[in-house]
């Protein structure tokens, strides 16, 4: 790794902790929301919004921008945090999550929140939207890329696999699907609720280029996403990112019950201390 890359990765690591802090504060303020899946995706989303994607917060609907679809829409605290910290809207607004008249809905509403590229929250639908956008880019000769982040539990949905086949048919090498493989879903471990076997083999069998990474190793995240950018040989890329649900907060990590729910005053203090002590 070059010095520049080291600095970049270190900077993103710190940024990801800011995103984590914002997630915890906003769910605490809302007294509801999804911490576990937001924290597991924090490093990936940070890499995308603070390094990988070609975006312009001053012009959220810039035609040639890269697109991001949070198919696991319940993890929107991570996305709202990244958007606010990136300057799409004031950070104070994060405190209005899930409140009446807020632009920050319980699940992402692209008509309300500046910077959102899609309305999501019903699991299984995001990859199809991504396929449509990537198709549109190809059709219009546009260079933008489309990133779709989904949960591993979400891959229970049949529509994901309809879309997976479709992306291969249309040779969408401008499409990257990232699976936040934290191993837990709402009711329990993914292997207990609905064993999906090897996700990497499944995506590969559908005809995708597959990369397996540690979803909390910033160097690996950046490396995999950069690599996907370079590819232009007619295949979409699937990044299977092994993550920890609740990553960064000891009492949340790998605890099914922290799929959703807000921390108390004391829990928030502990969580913030742990996030920054980790640095």
């Amino acid at each position: 790794m070059t010095t520049t890359n080291k600095e970049l990765v270190e900077g993103l690591r710190v940024q990801a902790q800011h995103v984590r802090e914002a997630i915890l504060r906003m769910v605490y303020a809302a007294n509801s929301g999804h911490c576990g899946g937001s924290l597991s995706a924090a490093d990936i989303v940070t890499a995308l919004y603070f390094h990988i994607m070609r975006i312009d917060p001053q012009h959220p609907s810039w035609e040639d921008r890269d697109r991001f679809i949070l198919s696991k829409g319940h993890a929107c605290p991570v996305l709202y945090s990244a958007l606010a910290l990136r300057g799409y809207f004031p950070q104070e607004e994060l405190g209005t999550l899930r409140a009446m008249d807020s632009r920050l809905q319980g699940h992402p509403d692209m008509r309300k929140t500046p910077g959102l590229d899609a309305t999501t929250g019903s699991l299984g639908q995001g990859l199809s939207l991504g396929v449509g956008m990537a198709l549109g880019a190809k059709l219009g000769g546009k260079a933008y890329r489309v990133y779709v982040l989904m949960g591993d539990g979400e891959t229970n949905e049949g529509q994901i696999w309809e879309a997976a086949a479709c992306a291969v048919k249309y040779r969408l090498d401008n499409l990257v699907a990232i699976v936040d493989k934290n191993g837990l879903q709402n009711d329990g471990p993914t292997d207990a609720i609905m064993p999906m076997g090897s996700l990497a083999e499944k995506w590969r069998a559908f005809g995708w280029d597959v990369v397996e990474i540690d979803g909390h190793d910033m160097a690996q995240i950046v490396g995999a996403l950069d690599e996907a950018k370079e590819r232009s040989h007619g295949k979409p890329t699937a990044i299977i990112a092994k993550t920890v649900k609740g990553k960064g907060v000891s009492y949340m990590e790998n605890v099914v019950e922290w799929h959703s729910g807000a921390p108390t005053d004391m829990e928030l203090d502990i969580a913030l201390a742990e996030i920054w002590k980790g640095r």
Partner: protein, 320 residues
Amino acid sequence: MVKQDGRKPISTRKAFGQAIMELGASVENLVVLDGDISRSTYTVEFSQSFPTRHFNVGIAEQNQMGVAAGLALAGYKPIVASYAVFASMRALEQVRTSMCYPRLNVTIAASHGGLTPGNDGVTHQAIEDLGIMRTLPNMTVIAPADGVSLKPLLQQAIAWDGPVYMRLTRDAVPIIYDETDEFHIGKAKQLREGSDVTLIAIGDMVQWALKAHDLLLEEGITARILDMHTLKPLDSEAVIKAARETGAIVTIEDHNIHGGLGGAVAEVLTLDYPVPQGRIALRDTFAESGPYEKLLEKYGLSTDHIVQAVHDVIRKRDRK
């Protein structure tokens, strides 16, 4: 304005296939998505003339809706070609969440509406679609009566702000209109003037309403005929005017009795101008395989049933 001449009947799905050929040439960002039924939805010709703008996504309607939504988000005007049963039920939540909620400009061309897939049987007869689609916020619901009115309505649907569900017939329906007739989404078309009763019909049932009009005329009953091609937004002004001026209404739809045209008209009448209403629709039952017209007879949707409903509703009104 209305001709019943020797012009050849044509299914509205076939007219749709012809219309998108013209629209494909004039609307550059028009794209068509198919689900392995392109010969049946008549999009084959479009796929040959505009190969880069036609996507056959296989037998996967949920993904089909999502891909269409994604294309709309990328600035295209997608038309989803499917069957009414799949478009309105198999992929309903995709339509709701990925299209209606963000109010995307997608046109869903849903063939095989109502009992027009006759011999295909219940699996392919959509008798719930209009009611289902009508409950979705931001959704517009249209069912053209013939191959001529289809064209301007489709053109407007594509330009419409928000998703549009357009129900098409599998079987041929007579040509009712002239090319010069004007149509507007949300404005009912009056086909016959009459003062004794108003027949409000939608889609393939408009032809039978016209037949009933002629039979009623022989008995000296003049029936106003409204083609309610747009179920939502409903032309409530035309409904209220009909209620005020004719005092009795019969709604006629190739659909289950719950939730469709009869329900929509009843909602307006109850709130704004209560008059007796008769309803021609399936009596909360599935039909079966059989020829379209025989099914209409057996399930209470024939011209004779319409005439009977008119007698009943007039009796009800005059008893008051």
